[in-house]
């Protein structure tokens, strides 16, 4: 068994069970960022001197690694700030081009706010209709999906690949096939899937995927949007400024080629380079290993939870078809109090609605506590969680 603690020293002191919010960063990623600032801290794509050229090479190396890992071409990989910005980029540019008043954007009842609010903003600005596919248990109701595609003939179908609350991995191939029946543009929010399972962009045939580097061992402030070259070519630019133009006059401008067309201004160079080191690390670990560790621990969590009468589980118990997320409530105790008491034992979990308020409303609750896993977690972390939960029960007499 590989001991990852040497690369994630914080695990010596904390039982970190909040990787769905952000993953830990191995020292290799921190060193790569630091090396940029110490050794070649120049801007990218503009200097013809050694430092700038090295920065550009390292920056573009991450783009190439991202493309290889996700089955895309390098020019299809756009760096943004995070998943939210990637989805906002799509909503804004589609709203400025193909979407018209009365067109339907079809989402699902599971979505995170970042795949709801940009479309609701477009509803206000353009007058689009926003519809939702309902749930069946902790999964999507695929019959409802089929019915809503038929009823609304959506122009865009945007869905999360894996739920940040339920952990459910949605059947992407099935959704994309259904969406294509109405010729819809398909967008997959991979924020919670990309860190845990292999996502093959070209094989899935989806038009766009979005995810954040910081959930994949990378630094905060770096997001990715991957889009089919043909689709990206058709979209108007998102933000205007330096880097995204080919030429500018007083009268107008010509946008740059892909991918720079969507990368206005100086990017998070150190962050992108750090993300390159994160991808190297993920590749070394391998998605097979990541999945097997997480599924083993999730099964163990669910077994321990079933033994306790005071825990209500909201996340999927279908371990084979879920990422490592355990959403729950302790009877009679608010999740904030659960989280605060667990913190006394250095167990880090998240509490609240996890930016998925419509999903919580659908479940008939206001909030949940959530423990989320990554490959660096161990059985000891889970044992610490349950030891802490026993203390919560004792203090609150739940």
């Amino acid at each position: 068994m590989v001991d990852y603690k040497k690369d994630f020293p914080i695990l010596e002191r904390f039982h970190y069970l909040d990787s769905a919010a952000t993953s830990l960063k191995p020292i290799q990623v921190i060193e790569a960022e630091m090396e940029y600032y110490k050794e070649y801290p120049a801007n990218v794509h503009r200097g013809v001197y050694k430092l700038s050229e090295r920065a550009t090479e390292m920056f573009e190396r991450t783009r190439d690694s991202t493309a290889r890992m996700f089955g895309a071409k390098s020019r299809e990989v756009i760096f943004t700030r995070n998943t939210t910005e990637s989805l906002n980029l799509l909503a804004a540019t589609l709203g400025n081009s193909v979407l018209r008043k009365g067109d339907t954007v079809l989402l699902t009842a599971m979505e995170h706010h970042s795949n709801i609010v940009p479309w609701l903003m477009l509803k206000e600005r353009v007058g689009i209709r926003v519809e939702f596919v309902e749930l069946e248990g902790q999964s999507l109701d695929y019959e409802d999906f089929k019915a809503k595609v038929g009823k609304y003939n959506p122009k865009v179908v945007s869905f999360m690949h894996a739920s940040n609350v339920l952990g459910t991995i949605n059947d992407a191939a099935k959704i994309i096939k259904l969406a294509k029946r109405s010729g819809a543009i398909t967008i997959m929010d991979c924020a919670q899937s990309a860190p845990h399972i292999k996502v093959d962009f070209s094989r899935l045939g989806v038009d766009y995927i979005a995810f954040s580097a910081h959930k994949l061992l990378g630094p905060t402030g770096v997001g990715v949007l991957i889009g089919k070259e043909s689709q990206l070519e058709e979209l108007p630019p998102f933000m205007g400024g330096g880097s995204m133009i080919r030429e500018v006059s007083r009268q107008g401008f010509k946008p740059a080629e892909l991918p720079q067309k969507f990368e206005a201004g100086t990017p998070n160079i150190a962050g992108v380079i750090g993300f390159g080191a994160a991808l190297d690390y993920i590749k070394k670990v391998g998605f097979g290993k990541i999945e097997s560790v997480e599924k083993g621990l999730l099964a163990y969590i669910l077994k321990r939870a079933r033994e306790l009468g005071y825990i209500k589980v909201y996340s999927s118990q279908d371990v084979g078809n879920a990422v490592g997320i355990f959403a729950f409530n302790v009877d009679g105790v608010h999740p904030h109090d659960v989280s605060a008491l667990l913190d006394e034992a250095n167990v880090c979990i998240r509490a609240g609605h996890h930016c998925a308020q419509p999903l919580h409303s659908q479940l008939g609750i206001n909030y949940t506590a959530r423990a989320s896993l990554y490959f660096y977690n161990t059985k000891e972390d889970v044992d610490a969680l349950f030891c802490g939960l026993e203390n919560v029960k004792k203090v609150f007499n739940a």
């Binding site: 105790v333 608010h334 999740p335 904030h336 109090d337 605060a340 008491l341 308020q357 206001n366 909030y367």
Partner: protein, 131 residues
């Protein structure tokens, strides 16, 4: 300041003194957006301008609930004008510990609801006087 005494907090959370609805009282409401908590404060003011009764309701964690309960305790029997400026520091003194940055919002949600109720009472009171 002391560390958080969760057992004391839990005790008052389970048996709050003022968790109820007050019919005909002035009300104020606030939400804590990261967690979805919501608190409603009720203030009932007597003819002489003194707070006759105060109560709270809603769904919230132990810290927010206990803060609301303590605010009600603090307000009852005092003049509205004397309690409406109660601030975070005063609340911390009442609690006996400083909440961490992540939980400051749990205290503030109760304070915000309380201030909202005070504003409603002041506004409506003035309107009533001018009638």
């Amino acid at each position: 300041m002391m560390d958080v005494d969760y057992e004391l907090l839990a005790e008052r959370y389970k048996r709050p003194k003022h968790k109820k609805k007050l019919k005909g009282a002035f009300t104020g409401e606030a939400s804590n957006s990261p967690c979805g908590d919501n608190i409603k404060i009720y203030i009932s003011v007597g003819a002489e301008g003194k707070i006759r009764d105060a109560a709270h309701d809603g769904h919230s964690c132990a810290l927010a609930t206990v803060s609301a309960d303590m605010l009600c305790d603090y307000a009852i029997g005092k003049r509205l004008g004397d309690v409406c400026n109660v601030d975070f520091e005063k609340m911390v003194r009442m609690l006996g510990f400083t909440p961490s940055i992540g939980r400051a919002g749990c205290v503030r949600v109760s304070l915000d609801a309380f201030h909202d109720a005070c504003r409603t009472a002041m506004r409506t009171g003035k309107r009533r006087k001018t009638k």
